[in-house]
Assembly symmetry: none
Homo-oligomer: 257 residues x 2
Amino acid sequence: MVNIVFDPGLDEAMSFLTESFSGRRLVVCFGLFSVEYLGRSSSSLGFGERLLVVKGDGSVLVHRGTGYEPVNWQPSGCRLKCMMVDDRMVLLSERRRPKEFLKMVFQKVYVMFSASPVDDARFMMGPSEETFYDILYSNPNLIEKGLKLVSRQKALSSGVPDFTGVDSAGNYVYVEVKRCVAGVDAVRQLDRYIRSQPGPLRGILLAPSLTNSAKALLVKKGYTFRRLDLKLLSGLVTMQPYEETLDRHLGSSAASK
Amino acid sequence: MVNIVFDPGLDEAMSFLTESFSGRRLVVCFGLFSVEYLGRSSSSLGFGERLLVVKGDGSVLVHRGTGYEPVNWQPSGCRLKCMMVDDRMVLLSERRRPKEFLKMVFQKVYVMFSASPVDDARFMMGPSEETFYDILYSNPNLIEKGLKLVSRQKALSSGVPDFTGVDSAGNYVYVEVKRCVAGVDAVRQLDRYIRSQPGPLRGILLAPSLTNSAKALLVKKGYTFRRLDLKLLSGLVTMQPYEETLDRHLGSSAASK
DNA sequence: GCGCTTAGCCGCTCA
DNA sequence: TGAGCGGTTAAGCGC
C-alpha cells in the first residue's frame, strides 16, 4: 500500500511524516530544504532541492542531484521528530550512540510517498542459480572430462534432472547439481530420475561436497560423485549476457556519454 | 518541474524512464523488481518491493526497506538502458571502468517521479582533518613541550609523516596524527616513514587514544605516544558558520526537550 | 557493550 | 592510471 501526496502544504506534509514514522514506514520525499549535521563531525548545507529517504528502521538519507553518496545521513536506529517552527517544517533525527543530530528545515515539499516494502528475497553474493547452470552447460568439462551435455532442465521445474548428456565412453548420463553440501535427498532425487527411465543410465551428482549418508547411498546405487569448485565457477562468469542484451537494444537511451 | 506517475503500466514506466534518462533527470521509483550485479563481484536478489534511485549523472541506488546502505548500486558515470523483455521491464546499467553491470527486472512499478533538482548550496564541513593539522602546526606545544615543527605534509598525500620537527633535546622527530583511536596500522605507518630514513629519528604518535595492539607495537618499536585532547583542540577552532550551526542545533534540541 | 576487520567500500590526492 | 588513505565510513563478528 503506497500513500502519495503531491504538492502538499507543510502542515499536511508534517502529519504525513508523523503518521509514516509512527507506522515505521519507508518515506521518500522530494523537497526544498536545508540540512545541518552535528555529531562526530558537523556540517551545514543551505536550502536546495533534494531527496530525503527515511526508512522504517530509522535510517536517514539525504541525496543531492548527483553522486553515489548521500550528502548527509544517519544509520539505522535513529529517532525522528517532526514539527512546525516559524512556518517551516523541521525534521529532527537523533542518533543515540554516538550522539548525533540531523536537522532538516523544509521550505517546500514537492512530492512524498510512503510504503511498507514487502521484500523477503535473500540477497546472495555470487552468481545467480540460472547463471550458474548456464556456465556448467557451456563448460561440461567442469563436470567430467569428455562429457557432452544434450539438454538442461527448463526453469526450476521438478521431476527432471538438471542436465542430461553422454559421457566419453558413450553412456547416457543424468546430472544432478547442488550448490551446497549434498544430502541423501539429492541422491534419492537422482535415483528417482534414473529409475523412471527404461534404459541404462549413469548418474552423476555434482556438488561442493557430500554428507556421509549421501556418500553411502551414492556408492550403493553405483552413481558417481563429482566435486564442484565454486571459486573456479564464479571466476568464469562473463558479462556476455549483459553486453548482448545491451547490443540488442542499441540506441535506446543513455544517461551519460 | 516534478513529473509523477502513479501505478503505471510497464510500457508507460519504460517511456517515463527513457525520457528521464535522456534528460539526465533524477528518477525515483518504487516497485517490485529483482536485481543482479556482475563486476568486481557478483550478486543476485530475487523479486521484492524496493526503491530505485537513478541520478542525472548516472549513479544508481537500490534500497531495501531497512539499512543505511544500498543493497546494490553503481557510482556516477554509468550508462543506463531500459527495455521490455518478455513483458517485463528490464533496466540495465553499465559502468565502464571497472566493467560492471547492474540489471533490474521490473514486475510492477507502484510510483515513480523525476526531477532536475536545483541545488546551489555549498556543503560546509566542520573541523576537518586539515583544520586540525593547521592548529597543531601553529601550536606544536599541544603535541609535546618544546617541540619545534619544521615541516608538514602537503595536502593528504601518502608516504610522508604528518609533521617533522625537532624536540627540546635536539632530536629529529616524525609525528603521525590520528583524530580517532589509533590502531596498529597507524603505528605501522609511522614505522614505515621512520625506517625509510637513514638517520636516527624519534617517532611520536598523537591520537586521542590507542588500541591495545597499537600500544604493544608502539612500545616494541620504541616510539612515543602523546594524547591528543580533542576538546582542547576544538576550542581553538574558529569558524563562523560552524558556530552558527552549533547554536542552532543546540537551540532546537533544547526546545524539543 | 567495545574492539577489530572487512568492503563490489567511495572519493580524493598525488606520483 | 594506480597506490595510498581518510571517512560522520557502515556493518558484521568476536569478546
